[in-house]
Amino acid sequence: DARVTQTPRHKVTEMGQEVTMRCQPILGHNTVFWYRQTMMQGLELLAYFRNRAPLDDSGMPKDRFSAEMPDATLATLKIQPSEPRDSAVYFCASGLVGQVNTEAFFGQGTRLTVV
């Protein structure tokens, strides 16, 4: 049963610490998305990749957030330094986009709490 896998599922950290979230997309999907969800803002698109190349990270605070895809099986989202306002659920999603488009399949999310 193919699924998007995210780790860790929960993370509590102190302000100023570095946080790294990882995502394994579904094998064969060529597009990977990072979203942040809060009660106030809903699901915000932070960044997305096509064939491992970053296409758009305009939704991401550039000074502290970075997203990479070192290989086809791993995407990472890093926050350094973390701040309390970064507390949210971070979702990774993957999809197949091109001649045939699939929906975005979501991972279970990483619940981040910055104290």
């Binding site: 699901l43 997305y48 999809g95 986009v97 929906e103 279970q108 999310g109």
Partner: protein
């Protein structure tokens, strides 16, 4: 800038009621629109709509797209408490870009 607006923001109904959720969008090059249901965890896919006027149906849920008026509706008939969730509308709107942008969602609560 592409935009997705959902209404109402929240809705409380009783079991057995029928509800209609709305999604309107402003896009430059439309490709498709998606509906998701989110309970406690990750959003799960419901429908993908590409063509105007063709209803997609799954059990008590159905959805239709109007590309001329730029909106879609999601209908749920004979609601059950298990339908309580946030319903999200999204699209890969831009032709060739496929950036999935979500609306803020409609929070539905179905009372027994």
């Amino acid at each position: 800038e592409d935009k997705v607006v959902q209404s109402p923001l929240s809705l409380v109904v009783h079991e057995g009621d029928t509800v209609t959720l709305n999604c309107s969008y402003e896009v430059t090059n439309f490709r498709s629109l998606l509906w998701y249901k989110q309970e406690k965890k990750a959003p799960t896919f419901l429908f993908m709509l590409t063509s105007s006027g063709i209803e997609k149906k799954s059990g008590r849920l159905s959805s239709i797209l109007d590309k001329k008026e730029l909106f879609s509706i999601l209908n749920i008939t004979a609601t059950q408490t298990g339908d309580s969730a946030i319903y999200l509308c999204a699209g890969p709107f831009l032709s060739g870009t496929y950036k999935y942008i979500f609306g803020t969602g409609t929070r539905l609560k179905v009372l027994a």
